[in-house]
């Protein structure tokens, strides 16, 4: 189309320009288009949906466990299955639901919130999803084929070593973790680069929305936490497959090395779920309190502090291993210190509500539930951070109570708030408020009924990961109460699923901005077009939609025939260059399959480490050597070298 150049220089795009943008950014129809998709929104949607599916599976596993524990000496499952159930539940919730869903939400929201057209490295992004999917399928195929892992979600050696866990169960676990690590790492890199380089002009760092800050901090945490578990699981795989002795105490290895490496990752991991969740909260509260957030700078500092401190806490999971007292004191101090940034956040949120005029729609309800549950779970966290108390509470249901109050309270609740809040943007339809309120109340009551009694069970001596207990223990009644609570949660989750399906078909149309929000994404249509913004907006303040001037400045002069994105400077977001993104491609899927062959095959034969990379080679060639054909004159970058 030759008239485009003229249009561009003339300024705003007309209907024809819009149509061309549609063509350029469309990933193509049908199954082929679906498999080749690189639009961050398409990838993120399937990512979130897959993660949610794993949440349901993990939840069903939890229900089976709860029924088994409902009364003493119950015979629903045998110990072999029970041990797989809590391992699957923990692994699913942490590796297949928690981390992925947070990254997936970020993959959807961050490019929109910073005002760009796609995430940086879109094919890598698609690759990340496929690898994650393969990991999830591996874990569940293993489980169905009676090769489900049974080492617990932190999989301590030597129990999970070659001697005490022969068979393939643990290998399935280790490779699942490898896949999810790869997926998380690539997502982290993409998100960091998107935030640093692809922000809309004017969105200097001090105008970065709090959620984007939270994602940025989280992505850095991923960058430094994941290598640790990658290394640990690699060492474990080597110990099991080729006879190394990293963890074998009889040959100069050390089981505690596993614990250090695992928790150096494991503690930050819980913050990988928690930090973006606080980002949701910081976005939602001002909208529903109908005023700007109180303490923006303090909140940013709190996020950064939490990110840093999260690397200084890992030993608080190892207080009973008999490490030197002085060292333990340091980790207690660090664990208590992290309560301060959390406190700052909680207080700023309450202050914002205090000074605003809260509107009690479902997103805010989930946020309020979050504040209550997180405060409770955080305080039990502070309790177990005390070494002497933890020596009693460790590995009991007290810790199970803590971890669910924070995981559900401080991660799942904000996530549900985010679902309710952004669902209209993503689908163009509202979720039902009436069902939403039922969803919230059942969930809130259910969580407390399920997990509050576990504090007492822990103090009464009920250790975790036990498939049954004797009647004389007296643990029966409270366990029964907890089981009832778990079904309340399940009912609530079922309502949510029903709400989603109902709304997809006949939810009220949302319009661009149903809540009166302030971040950029509410300025485009719902659902957003493939290119997100017809014209990249120019940002004028911390609350772009609340603070924009009537002339609503935009960027012009970008091509419409190629997937061009605007690069801006890191600190001030000054326009710096125009960069061409690749289009749809099957290479990510092929590369992911090759990686899949490598690691899944590696469980059975070392030849996989020859075959897999051999398959990877053509996939990567395809990745890097695809020449896209475009109409119109060549751009600068397309000229022959």
């Amino acid at each position: 189309m030759s008239s485009t150049e003229a249009q561009v220089t003339a300024g705003l795009l007309d209907a024809e320009g819009r149509a061309e943008m549609e063509r350029t950014w469309d990933d193509g129809p049908g199954l082929r288009g679906w498999l080749r998709a690189t639009d961050h929104k398409s990838v993120a949607k399937r990512y979130v949906a897959t993660a949610f599916l794993f949440f349901v599976l993990g939840g069903v596993e939890a229900l089976v466990m709860r029924v088994q524990l409902a009364r003493p000496e119950n015979g629903l499952v045998d110990p072999e299955l029970y041990n797989q159930l809590f391992t699957m539940h923990g692994t699913t919730m942490m590796f297949l639901f928690g981390v992925p869903v947070q990254l997936a939400m970020a993959i959807y929201l961050v490019p929109l919130m910073v005002g760009t057209r796609n995430i940086a490295f879109p094919r890598l992004n698609a690759f990340g999803y496929w690898v994650y999917l393969i990991g999830g399928l591996l874990l569940y195929s293993g489980f169905v084929l009676n090769t489900g892992p049974d080492g617990g979600w932190f999989n301590y050696v030597p129990l999970s070593g070659p001697q005490y866990s022969p068979g393939k169960r643990i290998d399935v676990w280790a490779q699942t973790v490898t896949f999810t690590e790869i997926a998380a790492l690539v997502a982290a890199v993409e998100l960091i680069v998107t935030v640093l380089k692809q922000r809309a002009p004017g969105m200097s760092l001090n105008r970065l929305p709090l959620y984007v800050w939270a994602v940025l901090v989280t992505a850095f945490v991923v960058l430094f936490a994941m290598p640790s578990v990658a290394l640990a699981s690699m060492m474990l795989a080597l110990d099991r497959l080729v006879g190394t002795h990293f963890f074998n105490p009889a040959e100069g290895g050390d089981p505690l090395l596993w614990q250090h490496l695992f928790w150096f990752f494991g503690h930050p991991e819980v913050y990988i779920m928690f930090i973006p969740a606080t980002g949701f909260v910081s976005e939602i509260i001002p909208v529903f309190a109908r005023r700007k957030i109180f303490g923006h700078t303090a909140l940013v500092l709190a996020l950064v502090a939490t990110g840093f401190l999260s690397f200084g806490l890992w030993v608080h999971h190892m207080f009973t291993t008999g490490l030197p007292q002085l060292g333990q004191s340091f980790f207690t101090a660090a664990s208590l210190m992290i309560a301060i940034p959390s406190g700052v956040q909680v207080f700023c949120w309450i202050a914002t509500l205090w000074a605003g005029r809260p509107r009690f729609d479902t997103p805010l309800l989930f946020v309020l539930g979050f504040i209550v549950l997180f405060t409770l779970g955080g305080i039990t966290g502070v309790m177990v951070a005390s070494v002497p108390f933890d020596q009693q509470a460790h590995d009991t249901h007290f810790v199970v109570a803590h971890l669910h109050y924070v995981q559900i309270g401080a991660f799942v609740f904000p996530l549900f708030a985010a679902f309710y809040y952004w669902f209209p943007k993503i689908t163009g339809r509202m979720l039902s408020e009436a069902l939403g309120k039922w969803n919230f109340w059942l969930f809130f009551i259910g969580v407390n009924v399920t997990f509050f009694p576990l504090h007492f069970l822990g103090l009464m001596g009920m250790t975790r990961r036990v498939y049954t207990y004797l009647p004389e223990t007296g643990w029966g009644p409270l366990n029964f109460v907890a089981t009832v609570g778990a079904f309340t949660i399940a009912a609530s989750a079922l309502l949510f699923v029903a709400n989603v399906f109902r709304s997809l078909r006949r939810g009220a149309p949302a319009g661009d901005d149903p809540w009166g929000s302030h971040t950029l994404e509410w300025g485009t249509s719902s659902p957003p077009p493939a290119y997100n913004y017809l014209h990249i907006p120019v940002v004028q303040g911390l609350y772009p939609l609340w603070e924009r001037t009537p002339d609503r400045p935009v960027v012009t002069g970008m091509g419409t025939e190629r997937r061009e994105v605007l690069l801006t400077t890191v600190l001030d977001a000054e326009p710096d260059a125009v960069y061409q993104h690749p289009g749809p491609s099957e290479a990510p899927l092929l590369a992911a399959l090759a990686v899949g062959v490598t690691f899944v095959g590696g469980i059975f034969t070392t030849w996989a480490f020859v075959v897999g990379p051999a398959l990877l080679f053509p996939a990567l060639l395809r990745w890097f050597w695809t020449q896209e054909r475009h109409e119109g004159p060549r751009t600068e970058g397309e000229e022959p070298a």
């Binding site: 045998d78 110990p79 072999e80 041990n83 301590y156 030597p158 129990l159 005490y164 105490p249 009889a250 505690l256 109180f294 303490g295 009973t320 291993t321 008999g322 007292q325 004191s329 207690t332 208590l336 210190m337 301060i340 406190g343 700052v344 909680v346 207080f347 309450i350 202050a351 509500l353 205090w354 000074a355 005029r357 809260p358 209550v372 405060t375 409770l376 305080i379 039990t380 502070v382 309790m383 005390s386 002497p388 108390f389 933890d390 020596q391 009693q392 460790h394 590995d395 007492f456 103090l459 009464m460 001596g461 250790t463 990961r465 004389e472 223990t473 007296g474 643990w475 009644p477 409270l478």
Partner: protein, 336 residues
């Protein structure tokens, strides 16, 4: 507030909820100085935590209640200043509470570590999948002996417990006496206990250790020193040779049916250490690491098919003719 009430603080909610249940299993009440110190700290943590939680919720509710009735936002520099003061104050209070908590933590930790008293006794506990080997140490080798799953200690005296494992990680936990300590292969850890009241205290393995982690309990039995001494002397002895013909036949079954491949009965050729030492089996309250009361019926069920009772346990089922089983049980019951 008296020391006694302080000690029972954390027990209050538990006690209200569970007045009826068996106290033997409860982490509260403490029965020795170590558990007592921890319990004191627990009380502080639980009550401060409750207070902080209630304060936060109260502020939250008040904020919502106010905001709901307001027509205009509280905005402007004055409002911001008020908010800053409140938030700043809350952060200051938080920091203060945390600082106090930290100090109390250190104090308790130090007190636990500096529990300096002469050792009345040194016991070495070895974790196995899924039972406890207990070795009483003594400089005089003839005064050492081995037992399983039941630890007797004299009341009012400090006992040193050295824990270790040769297979996977376990954790030694007798909540009424002290916090837990992990048994990590390649390491030996030490913990000090003292029971101030006679009683039977329940203990369990707290670290997930495989299939039967749930059934890896033990008992700590605190007795007055004389009673303890008598028990000790009894344990030092070898098994008394069976007096009647049934028991003699039982011993024959024991020695010929493979039991001796794994078990020790001192005074007989059976000397293997794969499974628990059975020399004084009949003096123990439970079998299979706290899974079953030590009665003839249960013993019979266990010996015939351990897998049914404790699936995965490292003891195979034994097909014995009824008369053989009868004789064997008679023999086992005689191991006093």
């Amino acid at each position: 507030m008296s020391a006694a009430t302080r000690r029972t603080w954390p027990a209050i909610p538990v006690a209200i909820l569970l007045a009826a249940c068996d106290r033997e299993f409860s982490a509260t009440p403490p029965a020795g100085p170590q558990a007592e110190r921890i319990s004191g700290l627990t009380g502080y943590l639980a009550w401060t935590g409750t207070a902080v939680f209630l304060a936060v919720v109260a502020f939250l509710l008040y904020a919502l209640w106010r905001g709901r009735r307001r027509a205009e936002n509280a905005a402007g520099p004055a409002a911001e200043r008020t908010l800053t003061l409140w938030v700043g104050g809350a952060v200051a209070v938080t920091t203060l509470i945390l600082a106090v908590t930290l100090v109390l933590n250190f104090q308790t930790g130090r007190a636990l570590a500096e529990f300096a008293e002469p050792d009345a006794l040194v016991i070495r506990v070895t974790g196995h999948q899924w039972w406890w080997q207990v070795d009483y140490q003594d400089p005089d080798y003839s005064r050492r002996f081995t037992t399983a799953n039941e630890i007797h200690i004299p009341v009012g005296r400090r006992v040193r417990v050295e824990v270790q494992s040769r297979d996977v990680i376990h954790s030694f936990w007798a909540p009424n006496l002290h916090g837990k300590v992990d048994l990590i292969p390649g390491y030996t850890a030490t913990t000090y206990l003292r029971a101030d009241r006679p009683g039977v205290y329940h203990g369990r393995c707290a670290e997930y250790c495989g299939m039967q982690h749930a059934r890896m309990d033990f008992r700590v039995i605190a007795e007055p020193p004389e009673k303890f001494a008598a028990w000790y002397e009894g344990q030092l002895k070898s098994a008394t040779p069976p007096a009647d013909s049934v028991r003699q036949a039982g011993r024959q079954v024991f020695l010929s049916k493979g039991c001796a491949l794994c078990h020790t009965v001192r005074g007989t050729p059976a000397g293997s250490r794969v499974g628990p030492d059975l020399t004084h089996l009949a003096t123990r309250r439970t079998i299979a690491a706290g899974t079953l009361p030590n009665t003839r019926g249960h013993l019979g069920g266990w010996v015939s098919d351990p897998q049914k009772i404790k699936p995965g346990a490292k003891m195979p089922p034994n097909q014995l003719a009824p008369n053989e089983l009868h004789a064997l049980l008679g023999y086992l019951e005689s191991l006093k």
